[in-house]
Symmetry: C2
Subunit: 338 residues, 2 copies
Amino acid sequence: MGPDDLSSEDFERLARIAHRYYVDGRTQEEIAREFGQSRPKVQRLLERARWAGVVDIRVASPPGLNLELETRLRDEFGLADAIVAPRRDDPQSQREAVARSAAQFLERRLRDGSVVAVGHGRDTAEVPRFFRPRRRVDALFVSAMGGSPRVDTPTNPNEICRSLADACGGRSQSLYAPAYVESVEVRDRLLEQDAVAHTLDAAARADMALVGIGGVNDDCTMARSGCLLPAEIERLRRQGAVGDVVGNYVDVDGRLIASPHQERLVALSIESLHAVPLVVAVASEAEKPLAILGVLRAGVIDVLVVDEGNANAVLDRAGSDGAPAPTAAGRGPMARRR
Amino acid sequence: MGPDDLSSEDFERLARIAHRYYVDGRTQEEIAREFGQSRPKVQRLLERARWAGVVDIRVASPPGLNLELETRLRDEFGLADAIVAPRRDDPQSQREAVARSAAQFLERRLRDGSVVAVGHGRDTAEVPRFFRPRRRVDALFVSAMGGSPRVDTPTNPNEICRSLADACGGRSQSLYAPAYVESVEVRDRLLEQDAVAHTLDAAARADMALVGIGGVNDDCTMARSGCLLPAEIERLRRQGAVGDVVGNYVDVDGRLIASPHQERLVALSIESLHAVPLVVAVASEAEKPLAILGVLRAGVIDVLVVDEGNANAVLDRAGSDGAPAPTAAGRGPMARRR
DNA sequence: GGCCCGGGTGATCAATTGATCAGCCGCGAG
DNA sequence: CTCGCGGCTGATCAATTGATCACCCGGGCC
């Protein structure tokens, strides 16, 4: 695979042509004329030169940037984008680093008129602090999930929406409902309310979503905020749940856990989330790789913003079980996919 | 000029975009969409990334290949091509290495119907030994210069033509005249001869020329072959001559030495040589840098095949005196000239 | 010998890229 | 405040590049 299993004659020719192309900047046509070959042939030779490693294209990585890891994540899970935040020592700094990356991503993507559905969670809640667009953006942030019983928890979607809107001069739209209600009946009643229905509808039509990925251990956000009882979490675990997006729990293979609690959820459904063109998920904490893996496999995420540790852990996990996963190796630099 | 005088923010963005383009193989348009920029802007950013060294494209050089040196020669002297043969220890091996390179170049360029004007010299004479085209090529090799008094010297153009023709199954056309005759009158008489005129005419119309670069020291080919007397060489030196192509002597600035001997020369004139579309010059020995420099500056050479030592020496010489010479530095990888 | 297959070839077309240019913005001078 | 200038921006077009495809050639097989 290296340049070594070429005859030295071939090697010289490839090197010569590649040098002419990449260093001297000649066109393939000029080179073809020079070497008495057809242009397509020169193209093939250049391709071969890249493949054989005669040409080496490398991109400098600023310290703390994990571009390679990002590429692997994108390839492995078919993501539109993946952003790996620089490694930090303590969990809070790590969370902030991830949030900063997510905020910068948002800044790049937001346009006047953008509608963003927003989830909950500690990671997501940090995003507004780092969200500082250059100039005013008239975007609308819509709560995609009900809140916790402890009303003004800063990890509530409503709060996050408000902070985001404040930061960019846009507007926010709250969902006046708890995340989980007592029964299906109550939920259906709630969904009939104009205010609730209207907001969920707006969220479903969003251009973009910003969501957290929740875990299932005893101090996950759902538990801490009092949305779900420890017993309910326990039950979810027993059903194979590994994590959630906006309240929708999935198992490690990305299958939705159909369970009583699911019917009591007031939030964007997995299907509705799927319909949002650009779903950005934020995940940081240490115990999350399984949750992240499950949610990724559910196929609703377009962009993952994550810390380095989780990124590696998720890739390890994905590689060991499940599908063999088409690795990106062998695809040389500049090879187009298609 | 390095990646260091960019703000780390810019650096990150450039690295991110460059990575996406060069490693992941996305198109500029996809990247533009991703980063919310116009496509031309992405193009400019990529350009900047290359310029700043964020992207590093390097081409592996097989040992003994001096692609960098070749590029400098091309740039410095406006050559269509330059080939630097691998370094060899003893002069004869060195000469052979150069000849081999020249022969390979010929093989690449020769077509059925090609007409090649051929000069003389020890370097040129080695070329046929390495000239082994894959298959028969119906080319015509025409002597571009008269021979030496010692008739069958293998360094005579006629001999070289014959060997080349033999090697590829082509034809050769001899020039039946000495390189230098006694007087202008004799030369003019000779040029009236059909055989002579016809050959010189054919040489002038050649598609390609293969010539040596001669020096002016006492054992240069012209002297050894008896074409010129030591006294004549001495006189040329005094007139500033540093070397010759097919008998036309030039000074270090590339100016033709107008001298009595010039009128007694039976060979392609500098002007006729100039008219040949592709003039390939071969030069190897150790004392030749000045000769090569002078001939290059005469502007008749399109392709130079040379050993590493002479290549370096010529570039040193050219850099120190004469024009400041536009260096290729600063031109990053993949920058198109134009 | 005739036939078929795989790999390589160059003609051709579509996609991507590079270059140009008019317009716009911000800034400093007048 | 107005003007003019330099630099940046994205629309647009031309050049280059990548992909496809029909074809050909050589080698094994029948």
